[in-house]
Symmetry: C2
């Protein structure tokens, strides 16, 4: 199974993330044996400190994770930079 991470920014258009997720879900459905063992799993992450992603249209998507939960901040700071731990 491939895990696909979609990072959805606040204030964006949600049909992009929803469309990609629905296409991959259809790929799961059409693949032989895809229903028993899906080929793709979608994970939605938000860049915000809260878990609700506010779309530009007023729709609200619920993220699976906040981005810092998936990528520890320490990994984003190269250790050669001044001040990095």
């Amino acid at each position: 199974m491939k895990k696909i991470l979609i990072i959805v920014p606040d204030g964006g258009m949600l049909f992009e993330a929803a469309g990609i997720a629905d296409i991959l879900m259809q790929a799961n459905r059409l693949h032989p044996g895809g229903l028993a063992q899906p080929c793709y799993r979608i994970i939605i992450a938000t860049t915000q400190p809260h878990q609700v992603i506010h779309g530009q249209s007023g729709l609200n998507l619920l993220a699976d994770y906040r981005l810092p939960e998936l990528i520890p901040v320490s990994r984003l700071i190269p250790s050669s930079l001044p001040g990095a731990a």
Copy 2:
């Protein structure tokens, strides 16, 4: 302002609701004076007792309202039916 109610069933494809909402948001944006006074406002309702709509793809949309909050059950039962209040 026109209020557009989209009733999103659980287990469906969320890009349909997200797509309609994004199109109407673009209509607001392109309409003269649409930014000051939007022409359309999208309201998302769920048929479920909880406010989270689980899409078929695994994405979760947050509904603005649960349908019974908008349409009282008493209005759905014609008074001529036996047992109706």
